[in-house]
Amino acid sequence: MNATRLLPATLVGLILLFLAFPIVVVVVVSFSSATYLTFPPPAFGLRWYSAYFGSEDWLRPTWLSLWVAAATVVLATLLGTLAALGIARLPRALRVVAAGLILSPLIVPVIVVAIGIYYAFSHYGLVGSPIGLVLAHTCLAVPFVVTSVSASLAGIDPRLEQAALSLGATPGGTFFQVTLPLIRPGVLVGALFAFITSFDELVVALFLSGSGAVTLPRRMWDDLRFAIDPTIAAVSTLTIVLTVLLMGCAHLLRRRAERMRTA
């Protein structure tokens, strides 16, 4: 390996280190047994994990986040999949408008979305309510579901539907026996993204949580503002593990779907 190839490789290596290192740091700190935030930690232990699991103050928001995320997944996946199926067959003009509305949460700055929803929901009486969170998170998660399902749909050979019809399947039968199984990976990937979007969501939760529906990210945020407690490192590590597991599954699902498609 000569110098001209070593230099860029080192550069890229450093940048990748820059990318990965902070995550590693959080994980390491979570196993520290010091009471304040310091790195490297003087000693190791699981005290912050027991602090987390032993505290109702932490577990309640965790459960709430899980429930809200689960409800969001159901709602977003259902609405999003139906919409993706519909949008694919709309005439061009309508399709652009519909897709624009559905995908706009990806573009609109989240603070604007957050205060807009807060503004309206405070009139509906949905602030401080888990339902309000579910409704808001669904809107934020749906773009991922629609994108994923649409991509899956687009990858289906249109001749497959024709083949099914020619073989005697009704349009309904074709949908359930051919289309649905083939978009299943897209739906699952979308569902996983929806879950993570809701579980990690903070900005909207800051406004909508109130005192009655405190999510885990909201709890972490409050903690960081008022007391720097390494328990957060433990919580963070756990959420990292959860996210990585779910996103890893999504990634593998997508690869598998692609492999199945290539004849």
């Binding site: 990965a20 790195f39 519909g86 603070i111 809107c139 074709t174 996210t243």
Partner: protein, 305 residues
Amino acid sequence: MSEAIVRPFGSADRGRLARIMNMSGRDARGPKNLVPLLLAAPLLLFMLAFYALPVVTMLMRSVSDPAWSLSHYAALPDDAVFQKVFLNTLYTSVIVTLGTLLLGYPVALALVRTRRWAPVILILILLPFWTSVLVRSYAWMVLMGRHGLINEALLAAGLLERPLRILNTPLATQIAMIHILLPYMILPIANALRQIDPSLARAASGLGATPWRTFRQVILPLSMPGVAAGVLLVFVLALGFYITPAMVGGPREITLSMLIAQQVDQLNWGYAATLSAVLLATALAIIAACYRLPGIGNAFRMNTR
């Protein structure tokens, strides 16, 4: 020869067949097809009710609070606080975009070029990408704090006598935001690079171009759509960033989104709505300006492959 019973093909038949035929798109152009609309309607209505109308109604406060007028907007040019915050937000976004571009392009190149290390590189990009913004910002708090890794390491190496104040400075915001937005720059560029026909580089080489020349004159220009997509994405996201500047940024350098949040806390809805409208308009204006550029569509595709 069988005797064919020829029935004239009437419009009633055409209509009935078209309705059944909405599965194979082509003939769906004729009679209006309700099924697709019915499928999309629930979500569209849902988002109108719980997202679009709320946001629009809130934005309307910028012209309806306290009475119908454009006074809020008219007051902006004289609003020193707004000017300072807006410029700071733009400035930070520009710095962050440049930073991610400079750091991200080499990584994208590496990702596309090596076959051996590609999975490893991809994991190192995706892992932080999949971690929540809150956790990543927290990680930087840990690193940049008075007793954080950076200070401890520099002290231990004898390069410092007292811990540096890194956290709660503009620099901290920039570093953290670059870190968080880097994957959003790398992935579109890698996508574009991957689509470049490999025989082009070989052709250039065969025609006598050095590797650097080949890169500069063939690869770089062809990767521009990906670069444009990445720049657009990172810039627009950076404009709206809230969590990271709030957590690691300096108390005197706040971003537009932080100002908006402050105003909402103080119930200055009219002002908050005005600021939101400006933020949204800025983001939309930039997107609209770049929309014509080729390859932009890829920016909003969640492809990590």
